[in-house]
């Protein structure tokens, strides 16, 4: 996939606007034609969205879209998890602002944050109402959004007061939360088991994507190192694996996982088909991440490894402390690009009969009551996926500048 290039955003005063749009006669004509087309499209869209579209299909099925067939009496676990996630997000966000990267100015609420908070507030207030959820559920969303902002404020305000030794442990909150989340979702430790076949909708999509993203990364790094290894067996093994996976369409691999894995393992040993799909996604993405990481490894001069070795570091230590940090920084945009396509690829689960977001959408629309309401559902799904992917992309760019403010991929004029 193409590398994510930074989006150049500039303030545009009126005069600049005029110069950009009507610089020459040709430009003027193009601009007028484009403006007319845009206006017509926008009008058509708003007429449809306000007068023709029927959004009942979404509000009537909001639970299905959110969690699939997750048992109603166990859904409190998901609410708890969402609350915890909101708290952790607010905390991390605030701490990031409390300790900005080199060169950035410290402020409790920088401009971007005020925007983000405002958008979040509007979304949290308006979205549940637009979906016509019951007041109890609306109130929960409001509470969760409020908690997030509160945690953000508290962490930004009092973050610097936290002793440093303790602060270093805070990133560990996320893996811990992931484990807690898995227990909350699937049950165990005294909670009722909820089998994966009952997960669905957004829950399944997010779960699959995060699972695969978390696991494909280390696998991909290992494969990339294997491909660059001097040991022929490791090298060829990695090459064959990477090229085999990259040569096959994901749908065939998913199909393979669903229909052939049962033949490859002794009866009963094959995991549930949701997990099976998750592993296929992971192994699939690992090959692509490996290629992204390899491009980063190529960018690290050979002298770096040699210098580290001559200082007496063993090969694994030299790789971990010297080569990989540099390589991963270079590979970051490409790697996040792979994560974004992985998130998009979760929609393919609907083709093998799993009820992810798209799968749920297709089942809902099979209900003749909602027949012909395709556009409404697909539009909302598109916006949802777009926001998640765009957020990942933005996050990657922010991380990139934070890690290396003078990187060559910083915005160019």
């Amino acid at each position: 996939m193409a590398s994510t290039a930074p989006l150049v955003v500039r303030a545009s005063p009126l005069r600049r606007l005029q110069k950009e749009l009507f610089g020459s006669r040709l430009d003027g004509l193009i601009s007028i034609a484009l403006l007319a087309a845009l206006l017509a499209a926008a009008l058509g869209f708003f007429r449809w969205a306000l007068f023709q579209a029927q959004w009942a299909v979404l509000s009537a099925n909001s639970t299905l879209f959110a969690v699939g067939r997750y048992p109603v009496e166990q859904q409190w676990r998901l609410w708890l998890l969402t609350t915890l996630l909101a708290l952790a997000t607010g905390l991390s966000w605030g701490l990031l602002r409390a300790f900005p990267g080199s060169g950035a100015v410290r402020a409790l609420w920088p401009r971007n944050d005020r925007w983000a908070a405002a958008i979040l507030g509007v979304l949290a207030l308006w979205r549940p109402m637009a979906l016509q959820l019951t007041l109890a559920i609306q109130a929960r969303w409001w509470g969760i959004a409020g908690l997030l902002l509160l945690a953000r404020w508290a962490a930004g305000r009092y973050g610097p007061a936290i002793p440093q030794a303790f602060r270093r442990l805070i990133p560990l909150l996320w893996p811990l939360l992931y484990l807690v989340g898995m227990v909350l979702i699937s049950g165990g430790l005294g909670l009722v088991q909820v089998p994966p076949s009952e997960w669905g909708g957004l829950l399944l999509t997010v779960l699959m994507a995060t699972f695969a993203i978390l696991l494909c990364f280390p696998l991909g790094v290992l494969l990339a190192l294997g491909r660059r290894s001097e040991l022929p067996l490791l090298r060829w093994g990695s090459v064959i694996y990477i090229e085999f996976i990259r040569g096959a369409p994901l749908i065939t691999l998913l199909f393979l996982g669903q229909n052939i894995l049962g033949f490859l393992l002794p009866g009963g040993l094959a995991p549930d088909r949701v997990w099976r799909a998750a592993w296929v996604l992971t192994f699939f993405a690992a090959a692509y991440v490996a290629e992204a990481v390899r491009s980063g490894l190529v960018a690290v001069p050979a002298g770096q490894l040699e210098a580290a070795r001559s200082l007496g570091l063993s090969v694994p230590l030299a790789l971990v402390h010297v080569v990989l940090p540099q390589a991963l920084r270079v590979a970051l945009p490409a790697t996040v690009g792979q994560f974004i396509s992985l998130l998009q690829d979760t929609t393919l689960l609907s083709l093998i009969g799993l009820l992810d977001l798209l799968g749920t959408a297709r089942t809902v629309m099979a209900n003749p009551m909602f027949l012909g309401k395709n556009a409404e559902v697909y539009l909302v799904l598109a916006i949802l996926f777009w926001s998640c992917c765009a957020a990942l992309g933005l996050g990657s760019r922010a991380l990139e500048t934070r890690l290396n403010p003078h990187s060559p991929s910083a915005p160019q004029a």
């Binding site: 089998p195 076949s197 669903q258 009866g267 009963g268 093998i352 629309m365 099979a366 012909g372 395709n374």
Partner: protein, 353 residues
């Protein structure tokens, strides 16, 4: 190099060890599948999941339908609890692979029994008795002016891929020497969506399925079924040839429902009937049927009173039919050939002897 050679030599050795290890657990007489189900504590049943009347998920997440009742009855017989079923929605294309790889224990998904699906050289399935005698039909919009299959010639027909309907349609159009455009979709949802959006002039599948889907259409009366019957479609639950003991158990679970109807045993009166059988030694047939006498159930590896459990769980075949697809249900299907043999239908259970 030395090490490497040693290791390459070790690989076949370990492979053969693994072979021996796996081969040794294959020779039991009892049903492995049934043992696995008991150990697991639940029956994994492959269903359609989107077909009203046969298997359908209601908004509260529970399954119901004729196919689902077979799963429940089997779970009742094996695990003594009709609720201990894990349902797995399967598409037409993935159902056989799911069954033969051991993914599901039982396939109860409006599956037509055919020779090639049954034969060891084909899909190698083991079919239980027919639970619904169906036939393939064609649905068209009433306004289309199409009144027989011949009128469909040259026009697009929507059909779900991987189904017997797809093959029957091809056969029948070949007989009629007519060209047509089969538009194939991977799922029933897409097939009906494309039909209702007017991409095809007709949609074809089993008559019962068409009737079921039509009930959900915005205007059911605007769609008619053509009189042509394209094929015989006996719908049967299926297991695999590899475990004949398990196939037998499922077969007799289905027969128990049919036999119960013939004997006038219902979910409501079964307790009374059992009490009657226990009290009266002369009711030999009933006593054997209920497992009060003899070891019919044991011979199948099931509890002696498995019939009592299945009928208590779902009722007899007639009750199952009426509740899910009969005139009292939204599908409003007549019993037709699915009547008991004494009433001139095809439902016939061999004796429980």
């Amino acid at each position: 190099m030395v090490q490497l050679h040693r290791f390459t030599a070790a690989v076949p050795l370990i492979a053969s060890l693994a072979l021996v290890g796996c081969a040794s657990d294959g020779g039991g007489v009892q049903s492995q599948k049934m043992a696995a189900i008991k150990a697991r504590g639940s029956l994994i049943c492959g269903v359609d999941g989107k077909l009203p009347g046969f298997s359908f998920v209601s908004p509260d997440g529970s399954y119901s339908g004729l196919d689902v009742d077979i799963c429940k009855a089997t779970a009742a017989a094996v695990l003594s609890d009709p609720a201990k079923v894990t349902y797995r929605d399967l598409s037409a294309t993935e159902r056989f692979a799911a069954l033969s790889s051991g993914e599901v224990d039982l396939l109860s998904r409006n599956t037509t029994m055919t020779l090639s699906r049954d034969a060891p050289g084909g899909n190698a399935l083991a079919f239980a008795p027919t639970t619904f005698f169906d036939g393939q039909a064609v649905m068209v919009p009433a306004t289309s002016g199409i009144r027989s299959l011949k009128d469909v010639a040259g026009k697009p027909i929507c059909v779900e891929t991987g189904t017997a309907s797809e093959l029957n349609l091809a056969d029948r159009m070949r007989e009629l020497n007519a060209t047509y455009t089969p538009l194939k979709f991977q799922s029933g949802d897409q097939t009906y969506a494309a039909y209702l959006q007017g991409r095809c002039v007709a949609v074809t599948t089993d008559r019962s399925q068409l009737a079921a889907k039509r009930t959900g259409f915005p205007k059911p009366s605007e769609h008619i079924l053509l009189p042509d019957v394209l094929s015989k479609e006996p719908l049967n639950p299926a297991t695999v040839n590899a475990d004949p003991a398990w196939a037998d158990a499922v077969r007799w679970v289905v027969y128990s429902l049919i036999q119960a109807e013939e004997m006038g045993i219902t979910a409501a009166n079964i307790d009374a009937k059992v009490a009657e059988a226990k009290a009266n030694k002369n009711l030999a047939q009933l006593r054997r049927f209920f497992g009060v006498e003899g070891d019919l159930g044991k011979q199948l590896g099931l509890p002696a009173d498995f019939v009592v459990r299945t009928v208590k769980a779902v009722g007899n075949y007639g009750e199952v039919f009426e509740r899910n697809v009969g005139t009292g249900s939204p599908l409003k299907l007549e019993r037709g050939v699915n009547q008991q043999w004494r009433q001139g239908g095809l439902m016939y259970s061999p004796p429980f002897l």
